[in-house]
């Protein structure tokens, strides 16, 4: 009896395999890429997909990879790109002079108007979200 329970616990769930999750994420991304900015559909879709992933991430329905108990000292290197980005984003946001000194999102807006780029951004967001849910 115990033996069969162990086997069941170790078997990966069908929907948790990349062969299932990747096509699902691509399908969701293609739909998201069709929805224009500032539309009610885009807002609802973002809240729906994000909300579902948060629900999965806060429940114990998805197996998680073990998290490190301590970070290696080299973790401090992550502060470098974060600081460069944060200082620049802060400066562009505070000065608020529009296209002369644009924020990151202002630079990204025209790129995201393209449906293919928008779908790719949707995929990157959802795939990273799925990765976080499983950590």
């Amino acid at each position: 009896m115990d033996h069969s329970r162990e086997l069941t616990a170790e078997a990966p769930r069908t929907w948790d395999r990349p062969v299932v999750s990747v096509p699902v994420l691509i399908s969701l991304s293609l739909v998201g890429g069709q929805l224009p900015s500032f539309s009610a559909q885009a807002n609802l879709y973002t809240f729906g997909t994000g909300g579902a992933l948060i629900w999965l991430g806060l429940s114990n329905r998805v197996p998680r990879r073990p998290a490190p108990r301590r970070l290696a000292p080299g973790a401090v290197w992550w502060l470098l790109p974060a600081a460069v980005f944060g200082v620049l984003e802060g400066a562009t946001f505070v000065l608020s002079v529009g296209d002369d000194f644009p924020t990151f999102s202002r630079l990204a807006d025209p790129l995201l108007d393209d449906e293919l780029v928008r779908s790719t951004a949707w995929f990157a967001w959802l795939a990273a979200f799925w990765g976080l849910v499983r950590r």
């Binding site: 885009a42 992933l53 991430g57 970070l71 992550w78 470098l80 790109p81 979200f129 950590r135």
Partner: protein
């Protein structure tokens, strides 16, 4: 001039993110991957509340809404 500075600065930040992630994936690296850093942050709890997990999920949700719905 200022616009070029902003674009160059953001590109530098993206390149730095990529470089640090690349360095973290080298064998024997002492730099953790970004995924490990996120997983470590998500371990933070206050009592029974997974504050780190809620915080990171919330941030990522907001980011998607900001770029893809606004």
């Amino acid at each position: 001039m200022m616009r070029a500075l902003a674009i160059g600065g953001f590109l530098t930040a993206v390149l730095l993110f990529t470089a640090v992630e690349w360095a973290s994936r080298r064998e024997g690296s002492r730099v953790p991957t970004l995924g490990d850093v996120c997983a470590f942050v998500m371990r933070y709890e206050v009592g029974p509340v997974p504050v780190g997990r809620i915080g990171l999920f919330g941030f990522w949700w907001w980011l998607g809404w900001h770029f893809l719905a606004r």
